[in-house]
C-alpha cells in the first residue's frame, strides 16, 4: 500500500466512523422545527397540492347541510366569509392555510409552540408525556400532545370546537398529524404536515390531508390584526359601528 492509499483508507475509515457517529446522533436527537415557515400550495414534487378533499366522505345528513350551505354561500358570499368575524380558524384549518401568512415554530424542551401570523393563533403541543386533562372546554386550537417517532413529530389533537359548515367536524374528532422535515425535488428543506381527520360522527371514514411549508430564514412574523381597518377608520374620525359590540 502506498502512502497515499494508506491515507485514503484511513480517511475512509475515519469517515465511516464519524458518519455512523453522526447517524446515531441524528437518530438520538429529533430535528429542530424552529423557524419561520411559509405555507405553499406546491408540493415537494412541484405539483399543486390539494389541502382538503374535493369530496370529503361526509355522512348523508351532514352532506345535505353542506349542499344547502353551498347554494346559500354562492348566493351571499359576504355572509359566509369567515374572515369578517375576525374569529380565529378552527383546527385543522390553520395548518391547511396556503395563503402567504407564515407560521412560526418555537421548539423547546417538552414543547412545540406554533405562532400563526394569521389571527395570532397560538398552538401549544405538549411533548412532556402528559395526557389531556379531563373536562376540557373545546377550543379553536384544541388540546395537542405529541411525541417523536423517528424523525416525525406525531401530534394528537382533541377538544376542538365544532367545525364550520364548509369544514364540518364534531366534538369527537381526533386529529393525528405527522410533521416531518422533507426534501423537495431540488433538495430544499420543506416541512410536511400530514393530518388524519378521524370523526366518524361526521365522515364515513378517516381521511388524510397534507400541507407543505417552505423555510423562510430571516423572515420575521409581521403584525396581523384583523380589526386594523376598523381601528384606522375610527382614528381618522369616521365613526364606525363595531360589529361585535352592538
Amino acid at each position: 500500500m502506498t502512502h497515499g492509499a494508506l491515507a485514503r483508507t484511513a480517511a475512509l475509515l475515519l469517515g465511516l466512523g464519524l458518519l455512523i457517529a453522526a447517524s446515531v446522533a441524528v437518530a438520538a436527537a429529533p430535528p429542530d422545527l424552529t423557524g419561520v415557515w411559509m405555507p405553499t400550495a406546491i408540493g415537494p414534487d412541484g405539483n399543486r397540492n390539494r389541502t382538503w378533499p374535493a369530496k370529503p366522505p361526509l355522512l348523508p345528513a351532514v352532506q345535505a347541510d353542506y349542499d344547502a350551505y353551498r347554494v346559500l354561500a354562492a348566493a351571499n358570499p359576504e355572509d359566509f366569509d369567515s374572515a369578517r368575524s375576525c374569529l380565529p380558524y378552527i383546527m385543522p384549518r390553520p395548518m391547511l392555510v396556503v395563503a402567504q401568512y407564515p407560521l412560526e415554530i418555537v421548539q423547546t424542551d417538552g414543547r412545540v409552540t406554533m405562532i400563526f401570523e394569521l389571527h395570532n393563533d397560538v398552538r401549544r403541543i405538549y411533548l412532556d408525556g402528559r395526557t389531556p386533562p379531563s373536562g376540557l372546554r373545546p377550543t379553536w386550537m384544541g388540546y395537542s400532545v405529541g411525541h417523536w417517532e423517528g424523525d416525525a413529530l406525531v401530534v394528537r389533537t382533541t377538544s376542538v370546537r365544532d367545525g364550520t359548515i364548509d369544514q364540518p367536524h364534531g366534538p369527537s374528532m381526533v386529529l393525528t398529524e405527522r410533521l416531518r422535515l422533507i426534501k423537495d425535488k431540488d433538495a430544499n428543506t420543506m416541512l410536511e404536515d400530514e393530518i388524519t381527520v378521524d370523526d366518524l360522527a361526521t365522515y364515513a371514514q378517516p381521511f388524510t390531508v397534507r400541507n407543505f411549508f417552505r423555510q423562510r430564514p430571516g423572515v420575521e412574523i409581521g403584525e396581523y390584526f384583523c380589526s386594523e381597518d376598523l381601528w384606522q377608520q375610527n382614528l381618522s374620525g369616521n365613526a364606525t359601528k363595531i360589529p361585535w359590540r352592538n
Partner: protein, 251 residues
Amino acid sequence: MPKIGASLVLGLFLGGVGFLPGGAAAASALPVDFSGVWVASARSGDALKPDKLHMTERGKAALAAFDPRHHDSTRFCMPYGTPRNTLSTAPYPVEIVQRPERLTMIFDRLGDVRRVFLDGRPRPNPLWPTWLGHSLGHWEGKALVIETVAMTKESILADNGLPHSEDMRVTERLSLASRDGAQWLIDDITITDPALYEAPIKVTQRFRRADGAEMSEGSVSCLLDQWRQDLERRNQTLAGEVGAEKNGAPP
C-alpha cells in the same frame, strides 16, 4: 485525495453535529430560564397615575385629548402594545417560551406576542413603529436586560390613556426571585420619553408563576365577551389561590 476525503468527512461530521442540539434548546444553556406561565400581581402605589408623573406640556395635552371610546385600541380588539401588555395587572397570564437565541412572551391578550432577540443582531434600518416594538436583549449575570424601541404612538401606556411618543425607549431588567416557596418574575421597567415626560418612569412589575393558569385564545376573548368574563373569574380565583394566602406577599 486524502485532503478532499478529509473535508468530506469533516462536512459529514459537522452535518451530524448540526443535528446534535436537535429537538430543543437545552434549558441548561440559558443563564436563567424564564419559561412558564405567569400572572401579573397588583402594584401598590401605582407609578402610572398621572398626578405622580412630571409630564411636559406636550404630554399633558396628549393626555387631556385622550378619549377611551376612540383611543383605546383594546376596545377595537386591537393589541395592547408594548409596554402596556407588560405593565397591565389585569388577570390574564403571559407565557414565556425561551431559547438561547430568543425569548418569546405570549400574552393572553389581543395578539400581543413579544419577540426578544438575544442573538446579538442589529436593529433593522429603517425601523418602522409597530404595536409590539423591536426588542433586543442581553444577559447581565442572572438578569436579562431588554431594550425596546419603535412602538406606535397609537398605543398607550395604561388604561388611563397615558401617551407616549415614537421615540420612547423601554428598558427592562428581568430576573427571578423566590419568596415563601413561590417563584416570581421581576420586571424592572424604565420608560424614557423626554418629549412627553420630564423624568424616566420607573415601574416594577411582578409576576407569580402560575403554570396552571388557563391561556385563552388571543383575540377570541375580545370577540366573545362571555368567554372572557368566565376566564377572568377563573384566573382571578387561581391568582388568589396561589397569591397572598399560600405564598405570601410579593418580594
